[in-house]
């Protein structure tokens, strides 16, 4: 399974990562090589096998619906790259 340039660019757009021309080429080659290794799984008959999402024994852990203290808003904003008062500042989301 070789990944072409268009596919690498598409994956990068889904992952929201900008890539340089050189990176597109390198990742194309490397990811293709890694995907080659996954072919081995085709040998496995998994037709009636239930998938495992995690190997812990727990299922849907619930807790009582009680109010609890959360982080102080000043603490939450402490690491904000760009803040305005009580808010995280972001670029415009909606276009005009």
């Amino acid at each position: 399974m070789a990944l072409g340039r268009a596919e690498v660019e598409y994956i990068a757009s889904l992952a929201r990562i900008n890539l340089t021309e050189e990176e597109i080429e390198t990742f194309g080659e490397q990811l293709s090589h890694i995907l080659e290794q996954f072919k081995v799984l085709e040998e496995l008959d998994t037709s009636d096998v239930v998938p495992t999402a995690h190997a812990g024994g727990l299922q849907t852990v619930m807790r009582d619906d009680l109010s609890q203290d959360s982080l102080d808003s000043e603490d939450v904003l402490k690491n904000a790259p760009n803040r305005e008062g009580e808010f995280f500042r972001v670029n415009a989301v909606l276009e005009e």
């Binding site: 889904l14 929201r16 490397q30 890694i34 495992t52 790259p81």
Partner: protein, 487 residues
């Protein structure tokens, strides 16, 4: 006489509680060693000597009042993937270079409640992705046994700091071998507990169905003593399991009569170094001599574990790392008014190559049209791998394997070839896939480099693994060896 910095937790605790030494003296001995060797080993991303000495002084007060336990006043390094309140937590990434957590990870908090002394944050592969510590965005860590070689990874700092006598023990995290493999390569003991035994609250997520926190120490007892403190249910981690507390140190010292060990042939892979094979074979004979019965077993799905892991872990990583968008914390590209450009350039500049590679791989495996062929198929393979383990654990109490098929390799040797790097973890990955506990204990040397033996058991069989490793350790003296070049 060896310095105080080489004491085990057990020895340090005996001297601290009898007031023969103070925690301040012990902490200073570690800081002195760091002063001598850290420029060579570079196991730390950040040192916190002032707060460490304050914590040591507080620990001395606790000890004087007869409070605390085995970890009180004992210096520790914390892998930089665990949040530490007020102390930068970078995950060895540019993305989190200036991130200062406002709370402690639960495992860290538990150490602090015991009066632990944190000397600093341990180097690692960026976001715990890697097997050599070379993916750290800041600097590589060197193997104390040979400074031209890697310490393993991703918890390379955790293992190297302990091996170099910079700290008494450390905390690492293990998603596919990241505690056990560096422990093996650095000649120390590393324990990856059962999935759910230790809270991951405050552990920066890589692959949530695989990640687990565990201790690294110079002895099996030290890992047991650290596990005693960090294990336990935490309502803030919904995957942590409610169990009766266990004293993991209590069963150490028992003999191995009646213990049934299995040796899975599939773990003695092609390309395994002969010196590693020899050391592990000899270790198995020692275990037999200690009263354990040893039989060959087969885990035929082992050959699928690598593919299974490198689909599941990157898939979960791509979802977990979606949070790094430059808005709430971390690096943020600011030279644009366009929201998407800002996000895409934040992630371009913030993530190193291996992290980008895995995010891309996971994004692809989860994308429309490929989900069934990759992610679903890998989850089904995961079921078969688990069933293989379930089956052999009906016959045996634990498995014995090499931890890594190779000893520490030269820095730079494998960085250009991701697949070669991934293959290093072939003996450790299946353990995370099945959520099992795994322990690496030193079992000799090959060309002067440490070799590790891995013990794997069923869920929550830490006591068996620790007991077995402790008996082996007592019968040999590999863990008394010290890296000569650093002494």
């Amino acid at each position: 006489m060896a310095g105080l910095n080489w004491l085990s937790i057990q020895e340090a605790h005996a001297q601290l509680s009898s007031r023969k030494i103070s925690s301040v003296e012990l902490t200073q001995a570690c800081l002195d060693q760091i002063g001598v060797v850290e420029s060579q080993v570079q196991s730390f991303l950040a040192l916190t000597p002032e707060s460490a000495l304050e914590q040591a002084a507080r620990a001395d007060q606790m000890l004087a009042a007869g409070e605390g336990g085995p970890l009180t006043g004992v210096p520790v390094q914390i892998k930089d993937v665990m949040c530490t309140e007020g102390v930068a937590t970078t995950c060895a990434s540019r993305m989190l270079e200036n991130f200062v957590p406002v709370y402690n990870a639960t495992a860290v908090e538990k150490l602090m409640e015991q009066g632990a002394v944190m000397l600093g944050k341990g180097n690692m592969d960026e976001f715990a992705m890697g097997s050599s510590c070379e993916n750290s965005a800041f600097h590589p860590t060197k193997n104390p046994w040979d400074l031209d070689r890697v310490p393993g990874g991703s918890s390379g700092g955790a293992a190297a700091s302990v091996a170099a006598g910079e700290v008494i023990y450390s905390l690492g995290s293990d998603t596919g071998g990241s505690i056990r493999q560096p422990a093996a390569l650095c000649g120390v003991v590393g324990l990856k507990p059962t999935y759910g035994l230790v809270s991951r609250f405050g552990l920066i997520a890589f692959a949530s169905s695989l990640d687990q926190i565990g201790p690294v120490g110079r002895s099996v007892m030290d890992c047991a003593l650290a596990l005693n403190v960090i294990a336990g249910h935490d309502p803030r981690d919904a995957t942590s399991v409610k169990r009766e507390p266990v004293d993991y140190s209590a069963g150490l010292g028992q003999d191995l009569k009646g213990l049934r060990l299995g040796v899975p042939e599939e773990y003695f892979v092609e390309g395994m170094e002969s010196g590693t094979r020899k050391a592990v074979d000899e270790a198995i004979s020692v275990l037999e001599g200690l009263g354990a019965s040893v039989r060959p077993v087969s885990l035929p799905t082992t050959q699928y574990a690598l593919a299974c892991y490198y689909i599941i872990a990157p898939s979960e990583c791509s979802a977990n790392l979606a949070r790094y968008d430059g808005v709430k914390y971390g690096y943020s590209y600011q030279d644009t008014d366009d929201m998407w450009e800002a996000m895409e350039k934040t992630r371009q500049h913030g993530f190193g190559p291996e992290v980008t590679r895995r995010v891309m791989l996971g994004t692809y495996a989860l994308s429309s049209g490929y989900y069934d062929a990759y992610y679903l198929k890998a989850q089904q393979a995961r079921t078969l791998i688990r069933q293989d383990f379930d089956r052999v654990f009906q016959e045996v109490d634990a498995l014995v394997t090499p931890t890594s098929p190779v000893t520490a390799f030269k820095i730079g040797d494998k960085v250009g070839d991701p697949v070669q790097m991934y293959l290093i973890d072939v003996c450790t990955l299946p353990v995370n896939i099945a959520g099992l506990p795994g322990l690496s204990v030193p079992c000799g040397f090959s060309d002067g480099l440490p070799v590790g033996m891995q013990l794997i058991g069923p869920h929550f069989s830490e006591e068996t693994l620790l007991k077995t490793a402790h008996a082996y350790e007592a019968a040999t003296d590999w863990n008394s060896e010290r890296p000569a070049g650093l002494r």
